[in-house]
Amino acid sequence: MASGRTFDLRSQPAFSFVALFTFFMLYLPIAALVMYAFNAGSSMAVWEGVSLRWFYEAAGNERVQEAALRSAVIAMFAALTATVAATMAAIATTRTRPYRGLTFKYAFINQPLMVPEIVTAVALLIVFSRIKVWTGYSGLGYLVAAHSAFCIPFAYLPIRARLENMDLSLETAAADLYATKWQAFSHVTLPLLRPGIIAGFMLAFVISLDDVVITEFVKSGGQDTLPTYMLGQLRRETTPEINAIAVAFLLFSVVLVTAFFFVNRRKV
């Protein structure tokens, strides 16, 4: 490729080295974590042979089971709520003539991406503790509400992107063919939006599953999710059980995010 006329970054000196070094630094810690999940011994630093022991231990641990189930329930409800809210917000912000204040609304919807999580966490802690006193309710509702709120922008982005790329004449054609506004939405807009909604839901689900900071502040006693359980375990004597949980978590997320990309790419 000695064309010399087009600039190709790959032909620059040390390019390969920098690239490899970056990937190495990114993935080495994860590789080590994955490797020690298969350690037969009970140390996270001394290798004693291959075993699936810690996976069995983790799977059999009641507290892990509980935390995992709780994470899944919260993520399910939060992603559902966030997706519904995000869909409505996306329609309201795209199926309208641009007006003064629309940009402000985008910013408002995406607020959770800009406000530091710790600030939201402290704010929610204060508000929720008041509500707990007034109502006496201390269930999972607080976590679901908090997760729903910060998941909205993640669900919103793929849905809005899809709405913006949709051919507006399709909705006009539906109206021309005797569809009322609601029929045009349910027969044309919604089916075409479905991949975006599914993608938004999956993204929101992963984001909720992964959250530590807000959950740590908002949860009541005995409401550990999988990430906060892991955090709690790290404060004690640690075994490769944590690694095993992390690997399972990693696999699940990779599968979900990969699926997200495929769904998001679909044409119809």
Binding site: S169, L170, A173, A174, A175, D176, L177, Y178, Q183, P191
Partner: protein
Amino acid sequence: MPAAPGRNAIEVRSVSKLFGTGEAQVAALDNVSVAIRENEFFTLLGPSGCGKTTLLRLIAGFDYPTEGEILLYGQDIAPLPPFKRPVNTVFQSYALFPHMTVGQNIGFGLEMLGKPKAEVEARVSAMLKLVRMEALKDRRTSQISGGQQQRVALARALAPQPKVLLLDEPLSALDYKLRKEMQIELKRLQNETGITFIFVTHDQEEALTMSDRIAVMSSGRILQVGSPWDIYDRPAERFVADFIGDSNFLPAAVGAIENGIARVKLLSGAEISATVAEGYQPKAEATVAIRPEHTTAVRTGGQLPGSVENVVYLGTDTHIHIKLDSGGNFTVRQQNMRSQSCGFEVGERVGIQIAANAAQVLKD
């Protein structure tokens, strides 16, 4: 041919449409009135930005007029939403629903109207037959060609048996051969269904071949309404004569008028006969339009002397560009015959022979 000039399917009365506000306000339509007859193939013709698509959108209900009325068989439909108007549209982009099959697309309108399943099925089959697409009923719209998509779009708009069918430059995405085929196809569909067609195009040839009547539009106004023959042979204004076909424009003095024929004196001093619009009064300074194919170049005689500037061979005919002695340029179009070439040399002296009544006096 148009049915007996009976009822008006659509009547547009003093419709204006303004976009924007304040100083940025533009009139897309400026006090437009036109009546479109039942069973007519009516074309709105004009360059882009002339307001033809805006007028179509107002009839469809995608937009509302700032002023004026739009009557459908006597009933004002201007304030109705599109789904309450018995009018369907064929979109420029076809706008077929990509998540539905060909059959589902065609049945969509009837389903929205709440027709029974059996009736929808029967209509869809009949429509598929009408546009010769029976074999492709269960295909996705992304799996068929552009020409087939065009037919599906037509079938979908015709299926609910609208009172008026609107077509927004539906042939512009097709290649030349297919476009020619679809022109004939559209005429056939109109004859078979008996539905009033309102067709929007910027392509003069398309307008001339298909229409019963044409409205020529420019800058938000309708300049002339008439049959293709009227529009081509009796253009009322310079814009119309210029936009449709080629024309030579000559300054002239209009003299006595009798039975729609005026004696016209050209700058060269020659007198020719020209057609005029009804009610036209003699005038010292006017413009006449003359089609290049209604003239011949001759070596001796002719009403306008000049010299040949350029000869362009075009296969079927030859264009001879002539510089007039009285100033200005003139183009003559001569049919080519195999047995003889047109034989003019650049620089040669020629006379232009104008056929009787070939000139049209323009309104200004």
